[in-house]
Symmetry: D2
Subunit: 411 residues, 4 copies
């Protein structure tokens, strides 16, 4: 921002050192009122200390917002995305990407509540998160002012940051004085690690990188068998017990963690134009993905499934790039949701040392017809003679091509 | 075929009971000369007995064709398909589908050599293979006559088949008298099992179904680490040893088998309109798929990768449905091959109890730029300030939408 | 149908010679009760004679169904299709294709009402219409028996047909004794002509082929200017006068006809595998298509528009092939309809000798921002400096590629 | 550019007032050597004056580059694009977009020749052209410095610009003192006009906007009939006369102009995020587009054609956004070119008052089979009975869906 006249800013505040420095920097640089927003998205940290620290840094109590968004996160963001079987670049379950629009939305909600004219976040200038936050802000409040301190300030070294903190009496935990060996983001869906010691893509990640899952080697020698129940595309229960979205994902995370499931070490393409390497842990999501595909396998029509598959990469790209609150995401969601009406039933899985193995699927809406598929006598359900006409008309254009001298389908 | 005047037919002949019955049935029904063609696609069976049996059934020696197609299979069919990362319905590596066009092509080649006017195969009338064979035949020789005995004859029960065999002095192995508990297809890429005891999708497959891989539970407790070397999109070596395509896949199969890798239990959608359940084992292919994605992750441009991903489902559908020799497959292949020029380098993997874990990738063509991605000072390689303009223009259409009253990207 | 036990059949009956012969043939061949269904889809023929002729041929009054489906046709079939801007193979407005599912649906409705177990249609065995009718039947009543006389009977020459008619006292209009020089299908959306004298694609169609439009050469020398009003993606008025869907299309047809608009002479690809040549007249539809694109141009978000455009060919293919009542069509419809909420406004057009020229568009939901686009001072609405960052990050992957030796974006 | 150390810059120089001011501004601001590059892309202006003016402004003769790129433009840019039938947003033939990468490429070539470290262009900061130029520069010479004066300087009003020109003795043509009523870009493919008096999308464009075509109303009352000959996807002759690419397009332009063909008045979506209104004239291109589709209609396989159609919007978007020199464009080009091998033959067209009417197509590679399509006896070429099996298997999944309670294909 080159010229700005900010009166009140809502900061996405974790309570950690970096966002505390940002908080203070906003106060000193913009001379504006700062409102902090801290969300529980299942990242596994207590939120009390964030409140205490905000108070300590001079934020008025009425300007401190702490909200538990775990159910909303899973119900309105994670589950819709899983209805599409979204995988970015064929592999990544989008754990960080999907949390950003919810945070942005809540910041804007609070900005409207408190009459703030600006928002700020702590994402760096090289990553995707700045894009995801800011696209969300602009889509929801087009006149909002956006402050991205990491792109603006001159605290570009750890030393400068610590010096600023000391100068402004910001408490610094002992283990935060030095540089972290890598950077972490976490929520109920996943944990991601990147940067520093992970930057060389030829080096395997150090074991300490993994925080949400045990090593497959350390998982039990005996498989764990579970069932997951689905209704209209969403998981609603485990082993017959009905669970809220966040409770269900929490349960799956525990199961995945214990069985060494959901690790991914990936080089991916960022929206801002470079490649980066990330280590992701999505224990529950990995199980959920397998189960959802399995329940779809018996309840989705072939062309419905193929249409979804063909648009999945686009959907994943939209989410990855931060365009959750966009017409194109809503359009694809409408398409996917239309297909999920019949995606109801149960899947049985075996979890074992990193493997998620589907061992059964059933549904009251099953399109799998034993009568049609059987090797036994099908009592006329399927007339094999029909196959001849089917093949001949499917081949006709190729035969005409070959007659016109294009053997082998060569054009 | 309602009316036919067949003079000479080339039969895809395995030497087993079923195709031996077909052989005899063709002789008696069509009164025509029968030419047998038996291919080694790496299915793991000796071909000598097929020759002996054909002779026994009265086929003239010059009418018996036995060919080792393993290298051609991997080089010209499997590898091009892997350049596309093809997965049917998100999971199936197309092991059966990819072998059919090669068999069809070789049958047609032989038909041209011996002046045959017809071809015949032993696929049933409910499956995909009949389509794949016949589409291949018609695309390569548009005037060929196609005989599909399973759709034509009245040997619709095991009893009738056995009776026909006995009546025509076809030797019957003891274990072939009864019904097989499921049906198997195999080649160098995979083994598939389906039918009979596998028809209930809620029941987990019996362990005897798996023939190419050991149980993950039975695999070694210690991971195996390997490297795979790629050149222009194709694997060319393992652990630094250069290998021919078929030798390489054979080696990967052994590695996969030993580590319990490559099992898949799937309900899929057949081209002929029904769902079916298959149990697939693709040990080497599963490793190759992971390795290819990994080498692409550092050598492919983002949009090149996303374009390929968006067309992969269509490509996989084309291969699954049997349209290998079609203009659309060649067009997509041309697109994919164009992208693979720079896909050269090495991937390191850890194989462990069913898991294929990428632990490193490197390439002389790497697009991964440590300088750009680093959390450290990048010496001006990337100007973080550029991100602001990037985000603002990307958000502009959403801001204009929101100003026009469409908050949240709602249309 | 090889074996059949038909009790009561609902025939799509036009009252013409061909379907009268079918009517009688059904009675004599299947010895079953025949129910006739005649629909007014705006084909421009009186329906009274169809009733009289059915009575004459011995159909009981309670078995004669005549229904005016014009409003349903435009509202529930034509308009949803136009929301997608559907053009088959880039050109064809799908006038025949879109009528077939409605006829099939009404036949099935009547079959349920009268307890019929079968349906019959008069489409030939080489065309698309048989597929469209029968896919519709099966999708709506999966156990229905389908009779397609043209594929079953031996009345394969005009002479045989006339002889059958004479033998069964079916009245034959004088001008129907000889072969028609081409075949025609018509409804409120279009008229199509094909076959016979139109079969040579190098020959221009004879002027007598065109029945719905005058020659552009014969149209007025003075343009006609109109406005079309849209609400949520559908046209609702012309020149400020609110009109029902069918009335609106009727009015546009008159305007198009008078100005020589909507002729198309096309070689297209049939679903059954061959190419065919058709001459289509879609006067009102051609105007509506242009107007709809124009109103979308100011009301649709860019990515919404591009997503629709990218899926349009698939949607058009689905409709052309006869899969209106399919999950994939419903999914794409849901996607498209989601985008149309804001497609409200007015378009002005000039109609002149075959040309449909958009001359203005306006909307209360317009996303066109004079302030942003202006060459004049925009008072800060758009910061040109943002463009630099936008370009630099968009170019980053290409620069990294070029640095890795891939100049010119060559891979 | 915030900090820069430019030694020698290659400027895309038209000889007009604006780029003359830029030339002088570069000299004074960057104190660097300026090289001018003026291209003949068929814009219809003499290039001699540009040389004179560059000399006058102090450019050394060896630093003045004037090149005739017309043949390269049509052969290597326009024709490859027409092989894809590219239309941006369903309508725009991309006349401006396709010229930019060629100019960028030539500027970079010259920069390499003369050892320049920078390039500059005269495009504004709100449009697409800046993106197209700069993406091209970066893709071809990743370390190049880019100067975009319109984003950098303070000559933001006409008055300031004129004052600067006067101050630096830049000659100003009388008619250039005032503001132009709209802005124009032209080349051999098209002419575009936008801005100022064209900014209100409800107002029809003034007739003076159109410079390349006469009004349809003013075109001859008698149609002009022509043939266009194609080889492997490219036009090679008109009326039997073989012509070079640029000569052919020039001829088509004359034909189009005389018949009032190729006007388009469009609101489109810019890459930089806003909508804009453009008036385009593409007389020859409009004819070429229609002819190419027509020759494809008889020579392209159905699935080849549909695959192209489904990717056309993506290709058009790539070209529009300026990514000509990208891997994704090359991949799609490889796909399209693979399909064009058989696109050889002749098309006959009638040009009449704005209409381009295809009246015939023929090809030695025609896939149109009179024998298969005929309404007459086809002597067994097509067995109508095959259609039954074809339909039944295509309907099977919908029947299974309906049996599972999803009537009408509802999911």
């Amino acid at each position: 921002m080159r010229v700005k006249d900010v009166k009140k800013v809502v900061l996405a505040y974790s309570g950690g050192l970096d966002t505390s420095v940002i908080l203070k920097w906003l106060q000193t640089t913009y001379q504006c009122e700062v409102v902090t927003f801290t969300a529980d998205l299942g990242q596994g940290e207590e939120l009390g200390p964030a409140r205490d620290k905000a108070l300590l840094l001079g934020i008025k109590p009425e300007n401190i917002f702490i909200r538990d968004l775990r159910e909303e996160f899973v119900r309105d963001f994670v589950f819709p995305m899983f209805r599409m079987n979204a995988l970015y670049e064929g592999q990544y379950l989008l754990g960080t990407s999907i949390a950003r629009p919810l945070i942005a939305q809540e910041q804007i909600r609070i900005a409207e509540e408190v009459g703030a004219d600006a928002v700020a976040h702590g994402a760096t200038g090289k990553g995707n998160d700045q894009v995801r936050f800011e696209i969300g802000y602009y889509a929801l409040k087009p006149d909002v002012k956006v402050i991205a301190p990491w792109r603006e300030w001159d605290l570009t070294s750890r030393t400068a940051l610590i010096a600023f903190a000391e100068q402004h009496q910001i408490p610094i935990a002992k283990d935060k004085r030095g540089e972290a060996p890598f950077s972490v983001d976490a929520n109920l869906l996943h944990s991601s690690s990147e940067g520093k010691i992970l930057e060389e893509p030829w080096d395997a990640p150090d074991e300490m990188v993994w925080q949400r899952t045990i090593r497959p080697e350390d998982a039990p020698d005996t498989p764990t068998e579970i069932t997951i129940e689905f209704e209209r595309g969403d998981a609603v229960g485990i082993n017959g017990e009905r669970l809220s979205p966040a409770m269900l994902l929490t349960r799956l995370n525990a199961l995945g963690k214990a069985n060494g499931i959901g690790r991914l070490d990936l080089v991916e393409n960022r929206f801002v134009g470079m490649k980066s390497r990330g280590c992701y842990e999505t224990p529950g999501g990995t199980i959920l993905y397998a189960a959802h595909r399995a329940i779809e396998s018996i309840t989705l029509d072939r062309e419905a499934a193929h249409l979804k598959d063909s648009l999945m990469p686009r959907y994943a790209e939209i989410v990855y790039n931060g365009f959750w609150f966009s017409p194109e995401r809503r359009m694809l969601q409408a398409m996917a949701d239309e297909s999920q009406r019949s995606v109801t039933g149960m899947v049985r899985l075996k979890l074992y040392k990193g493997n998620t193995i589907v061992t059964g699927r059933q549904s009251p809406n099953s399109l799998y017809s034993m009568k049609h598929v059987t090797f036994e006598d099908d009592q006329g359900a399927y007339d094999q003679f029909d196959a001849q006409g089917f093949i001949k008309l499917n081949a006709l254009r190729l035969r005409l091509g070959a007659m016109a001298g294009r053997k082998g389908g060569a054009l």
